[in-house]
């Protein structure tokens, strides 16, 4: 019996030849990540564990991205705790806005070349699944688990069953990774992949750009998955070129690997997708949302704040204005993306359209700062969750969509199909 890519990565990290779903393994971790919301708790627990040093100062990454730049004094204290920890431990990789390269962790780490195919990455953030787009095993954990991984350089994992998600057909012009993953969530539900690996494959995935692959693996956790993963190929290699120095061996699934379920997705006539409040699996085609008037549009986050996302939004917003009564907030996910968007003239397009363009931060995505919603307000957002109160008041509403739908909606003041606006 063959192995899936996820099983191969975990077997290797556990020093075993083969593993089966259900096996509980002790695995070595290649990278451990925490941010300004979760890391302060990890730091506290590390102290209580009696661990004076982290296992490897080059493999523990600290990112201040959620409340940074500090939104209030308590947040400033948290960010300082992360900064002090990074300094005291001599961490090689510490990122904070205003201190050179920085940004939303899951956009930043791959961009900085810190994620290699075959890696086991654990992060104190649920969207650590993002790194599967590079053929790595990435999974989220809580602060105490992460503290243990920082102390020991290993963690325990149960080998997940794998789901094979196969995408075929010729998607239309406006269909991107966000539409594919929202469509998938609509079918699987938010509990459809609990404890499982979601392996995305098929001709549509093979043609997909890295940015779209990141989006899909990012939201695998929205189906409850342990990890999302895509086999490395020429696109992956192209992305890694110039970013990573170390050698890596790309792993792929065997042709006789065992899957719990195979799902088939025909993308031929897929319309842009929108997740209605209050769940990422409450998904319908954009046409069903066309009557929904909105107050705010947010473009950014670890899901859709990459340069490719901003280019799509820029294409729609170029020479147009944000509708009266609507506010548009654009937040490039990283400093590098911000700079590239600046050089390409995209930030000018957004500013001309009337948008507020922000410093890279998670900000509004988790209801932290930088554009929260008041009671009764409705937003279209390119982020990943639309739970009750996620982006502000419990009586506000969030519709999740692609950057193209978000930009078109900002122009028309209601949820819109990109073709209603674009040339």
């Amino acid at each position: 019996m063959g192995l899936t890519i996820t099983e191969k990565i975990l077997a290797r990290a556990a020093g075993r030849g083969a593993v089966e779903p259900g096996d509980i393994l002790r695995v070595k971790v290649d990278l451990v990540m925490g941010h300004d919301v979760t890391l302060p708790l990890s730091i506290l627990e590390l102290g209580r564990m009696g661990a004076a040093r982290v296992f490897d100062a080059g493999k523990v990454v600290a990112v201040s991205d959620h409340f940074a730049p500090a939104s209030n004094v308590k947040a400033a204290e948290q960010i300082k705790a992360v900064r002090d920890f990074a300094r005291d431990q001599g961490l090689v990789h510490h990122f904070e806005p205003g201190c050179g390269q920085s940004g939303v962790c899951h956009a930043l780490l791959p961009e900085e070349g810190l994620i290699l195919p075959g890696y086991v990455v654990v992060g104190a953030d649920s969207h650590t699944t993002t790194y599967g787009a590079l053929g790595a095993f990435g999974t989220g954990m809580g602060s105490t688990d992460i503290a243990a991984a920082m102390a020991l350089g290993e963690t325990w994992l149960r080998v997940p069953q794998s789901l094979r998600l196969y995408y075929h057909g010729q998607p239309g012009r406006w269909i991107c990774g966000k539409d594919l993953i929202l469509h998938t969530l609509g079918r699987l539900s938010v509990a459809g992949a609990i404890y499982k690996a979601m392996e995305f494959c098929g001709p549509v995935i093979e043609k997909l750009a890295m940015s779209d692959r990141f989006t899909m693996c990012n939201m695998a956790v929205e189906a409850g998955a342990k990890n999302g993963i895509i086999a490395p190929d020429a696109t992956t290699e192209e992305y890694l070129k110039g970013r990573v120095t170390g050698a890596y061996e790309p792993l792929t699934s065997d042709s006789d690997a065992c899957y719990a379920v195979t799902y088939d997705f025909d993308c031929q006539d897929l319309e842009p997708q929108v997740a209605f409040p209050f769940s990422p699996d409450n998904v319908r085609p954009v046409q069903d949302a066309a009557a929904v008037a909105i107050d705010a549009v947010i473009i950014g986050s670890c899901t859709n704040g990459r340069l490719e996302d901003l280019r799509v939004a820029g294409e729609i917003l170029r020479g147009r204005k944000v509708a009266r009564g609507v506010r548009l907030i654009v937040i490039p996910a990283t400093q590098r993306t911000y700079l590239e968007a600046l050089k390409e003239g995209l930030l000018e397009v957004f500013a001309e359209a009337g948008a507020a363009v922000g410093t890279p931060t998670c900000g509004p995505c988790f209801g932290g700062h930088m554009g929260l919603l008041a009671a009764g307000e409705r937003a279209v957002s390119t982020t990943n969750r639309n739970f009750v109160g996620r982006m502000g008041h419990p009586e506000s509403q969030v519709y999740l969509a692609s950057p193209a739908v978000a930009a078109a909606s900002a122009v028309l003041g209601r949820i819109a199909h990109p073709e209603e606006v674009a040339d």
């Binding site: 509980i24 919301v37 979760t38 302060p40 708790l41 627990e45 209580r48 564990m49 009696g50 661990a51 959620h66 409340f67 939104s71 209030n72 308590k74 947040a75 948290q78 104190a124 953030d125 649920s126 650590t128 989220g140 954990m141 809580g142 602060s143 105490t144 688990d145 503290a147 243990a148 102390a151 020991l152 325990w156 149960r158 938010v190 509990a191 609990i194 404890y195 409850g224 342990k226 769940s279 988790f366 209801g367 932290g368 929260l372 969750r385 739970f387 009750v388 109160g389 996620r390 419990p394």
Partner: protein, 166 residues
């Protein structure tokens, strides 16, 4: 692991960690403060009347979404002694084990417990007793490795012992 006793509070399916503790409170670190905002906006009646030792009884996928450990800290500070659910989201399940809040996967129990029922739980026996209705439910054993963490009380204690042996 000692016996637990408390009143049941029902919540629905797919209760996410944003509902347990909202993002805007994640710059708080004091457990008591986090506990005061637990279920704010989502289950306000529960936030008001919850007693020490009371028990959350949930549907599918409890604790989905964000990995925030603050959710478990807030539940503990609220007074919860354990959570019984049809199923758990995996990060939340780990966080519960790691912080010593018992996560009991017990679909039959969830079906046979109403809000306000008085429950008694014997973790060692794997038994939930509904004292109000005279019903008993069983939950499966945890994997041996998890038993070790639960027996230590929490993951921090478990790792501290491990490190001190090196």
């Amino acid at each position: 692991m000692k016996r637990l006793r408390g009143k049941a509070w029902r919540v629905g399916d797919n209760v996410d960690t944003d509902q347990i503790i909202a993002g805007r409170y994640l710059s708080l670190t004091d457990p008591e403060e986090l506990g005061r905002h637990c279920f704010e906006g989502s289950y306000p009646h529960l936030a008001g009347g919850f007693g020490k030792g009371d028990i959350i009884v949930a549907g599918e996928n409890f604790g989905c979404g964000s990995s925030r450990e603050h959710a478990v800290i807030a539940l503990k500070a609220l007074g919860a002694s354990c959570v019984i659910a049809r199923s758990f989201a995996r990060i939340f399940f780990r966080n519960c084990v790691n912080l010593g809040l018992l996560p009991l996967e017990c679909p039959s129990g969830v079906a046979g417990i109403e809000a306000g029922d008085e429950l008694s739980i014997d973790p060692a026996e794997g038994k939930v007793l509904n004292l109000t209705r005279g019903l008993a439910f069983h939950f499966g054993p945890w994997p041996p490795f998890l038993e070790e963490i639960l027996a230590a009380g929490d993951l921090t204690t478990y790792v501290r012992r491990q490190l001190s042996q090196v």
